[in-house]
């Protein structure tokens, strides 16, 4: 089958969307790999193709009436096994990177003690993997870095000895080791992992599904064998100058977000996109073409990274922030503008005994206030108003926005899609689809 790929290379995450020839989305991927644009886009792309593969399998099973009722017992288990194996494989690479970082001369005195401590921590982490991806498990993030860091830091704090291998040593080793782990991939290794997850799953289910197992295996293998041909791709995003695409396959972020938002909500006239590193207020016409825009510049205050930084400070996953802030009962006004100072203000307020829910709500209001001034400068808000970007997934940010919009522009509904973080990548994929159609 022919597909078109759109890639949005953001500052915090890189997103990929795959559309089939009828503009239906069949796969998407997201990664927080950041050190190299090429690697980040190939990881996101690889993930999107893996998901497309799962979708094809799902489709093959649901089309066959004999298999339809097996599907819900089989596919979730397959996906879970795949995720566990992927996580374990990353843990293995993390362990190797940690042991290598421990060889540095400044650890000479403690080296013999560091190794067993690391091995104990990593073994405990591997033991927790199945529970982490259990059927009802709530994970604090979708990224390996966050999942691994949470367990590692907790285990490191328990294992640390202020007179021997200190917590500082252990956490600085992690900071170094995580980089090579999250910055490799895109080598088709994930496709191989699907096969091994498939074997594990089929073996595990063999006794329960003895009659249908061959049927199932054949259906899955057929779906696995479908050739996916990428006929066009378009890249956008913060790193668009350096995207590993030829120039003619690159579109500006503003255009992609405009078109993506227009596709999700066709009557959109104003788009607010709060991404990791920039916030954009965009006005579009009835065809999704941009008529004016405003962007913030060179400062993290008011962008998603602001919240990301705060989440790091609090050892929380970034999507835990919003729900916490929604439990606020007391109005706190944050005095600092700078993100780093806001982080210090947060710690100070916490040590003064203020509730973190209230402080967090104040931080959410601070970022939305900055977005409101951008919106005003871009020409205000016209109906319909669509909110996109990673921050649109944050319910407290949405509440704060709704509140301020109603105050300033009267009652106004806000369009929000749960997939809003993929808006730019979707826009790019649509541009790719246009290119492919024109070429045909």
């Amino acid at each position: 089958m022919d597909v078109c790929v759109g890639i949005d290379l953001g500052s915090t995450t890189t997103k990929a969307v795959i559309l089939d020839s009828s503009q239906r989305e069949i796969g998407r991927g997201i990664t927080n790999s950041r050190s190299n644009y090429e690697v980040a886009s190939s990881i996101a792309r690889e993930q999107a193709f893996v998901q497309a593969r799962f979708n094809l399998t799902h489709q093959a099973l649901s089309e066959d009436s004999r298999l339809a009722d097996l599907e819900e017992r089989f596919l979730p288990v397959l996906e879970r096994n795949f995720r566990i194996q992927h996580y374990l494989e990353q843990l293995q690479r993390l362990e190797a990177a940690l042991l290598q970082a421990a060889v540095a001369p400044r650890h000479r005195d403690q080296r013999r003690n560091i190794e067993p401590v690391l091995e104990t921590i990593l073994a405990a982490m591997a033991g927790r993997a199945p529970a982490l991806f259990g059927a009802l498990a709530v994970r604090k993030s979708e990224f390996f870095r966050d999942l691994a860091a949470a367990d590692y830091m907790q285990l490191a704090e328990e294992a640390a000895d202020p007179k021997g291998v200190t917590f500082d040593t252990l956490s600085s080793l992690f900071d170094q080791a995580i980089l090579p782990v999250e910055n490799t991939g895109g080598s088709k290794a994930l496709e191989a992992l699907i096969d091994s997850a498939l074997d594990t799953t089929l073996v595990a289910l063999a006794t329960r599904l003895s009659n249908d197992i061959e049927l199932l295996r054949r259906a899955v293998e057929t779906a696995r064998a479908v050739r996916i041909d990428e006929v066009a791709s378009v890249g956008t995003g913060y790193g668009r100058q350096r995207l590993p695409f030829p120039k003619e396959q690159i579109r500006s972020e503003i255009l992609c977000h405009g078109l993506g938002a227009h596709t999700m909500f066709p009557d959109t006239r104003t788009v607010l996109d709060i991404g990791g590193q920039d916030t954009k207020a965009i006005q579009v016409d009835e065809r999704g073409i941009v008529t004016s825009f405003q962007m913030n510049d060179r400062c993290a205050a008011g962008c998603g990274r602001y919240l990301g930084y705060i989440a790091d400070e609090m050892n929380l996953g970034v999507h835990e922030l919003g729900p916490l802030a929604q439990q606020s009962t007391f109005h706190v006004k944050i005095n600092s503008t700078c993100t780093v100072f806001a982080g210090a203000e947060l710690r100070e307020r916490l040590s003064l005994g203020q509730r973190r829910e209230d402080i967090l709500a104040g931080l959410h209001r601070a970022i939305i206030l900055r977005a409101m001034s951008l919106l005003a400068r871009s020409g205000g808000i016209s109906s319909e108003f669509t909110f996109t970007g990673g921050v649109a997934r944050n319910p407290a940010a949405v509440d704060a926005l709704q509140h301020l919009v109603n105050d300033n522009y009267g009652e106004q509904e806000i369009n929000i899609s749960p997939e809003s973080i993929f808006t730019g990548a979707l826009g790019a994929a649509l541009f790719a689809h246009r290119t492919a159609r024109e070429a045909a």
Partner: protein, 303 residues
Amino acid sequence: MSFEAKNGSAADRLTTAGIDVGSSAVKVAVLRSANESGTEVLALRGDRIRRRDLTRVIDETYSVALDEAGARSDDVAYVASTGEGELVSFRTGHFYGMTTHARGATFLEPEARAVLDVGALHARAMRIDERSKVLSYRMTSQCASGSGQFLENISRYLGVALEEVGELSREARRPETVSSICAVLAETDVINMVSRGISTPDILKGIHQSMAGRYIKLLRAVGCDGVVLLTGGLAADSGLAQAMREKVQEDELAMEIRTHGSSVFAGALGAALWGAFRHRVLERRASTSRTTGDTEQMEALGS
């Protein structure tokens, strides 16, 4: 330790501790002073907070420092806190950061007539006299660009330990110019540099040069000349000191940038020294007030 120790009579010997609580690390100094001119450093200990519970880090660092000093907590006549020291529940008294850095600086480098304290969030330039009195000062504004936290973020993105930053920076051949950039967004600029093939030393040196420019400006604004001692966490970064010296030379300024192996502990040392000073003052007052029975005044001074 290379400090001169003059032993007075056992009765005069006084053990005091200084605890400097910064926004990213806790530093502890334990001193024994025979009299006000002869002081022996018994222990210097620091630990990075790294998002742990601050009170725990304070307690732990303090107890490790006491062990190193061979002292029990009962032996310590005065526990002086500085920085965000309100969290040191067992303190005897608190001293403002500017005065402790000034005092610690003259202790480490008697010739110092200016101090540049570069911490995780703020940088502070002070002009001081030979008795550690702060004559004028200037601080950086409410933005973390160029701060210690900024450098820490950058080194994390580069996968370099903070201790290695100085040495790497000094290996630079063609430093990459960095404009003043957001401490948080610096990440992307660094990624851009890395993917343009710029080496880690050249990136770090460019950042050090940009920081050096800022700090020299700060020092000039308070009218510093003569010997400047770097204190605070970044004083341990030899790359920053080097970049500052180059800037001084380039602009032909009458400044001499110095660091000391214990510069990072200047605040803690200063606090312990002021603690000893105040303890003696209180003792003198107590011996006079004992006759008048005025202990309330003494307690008020001590806390």
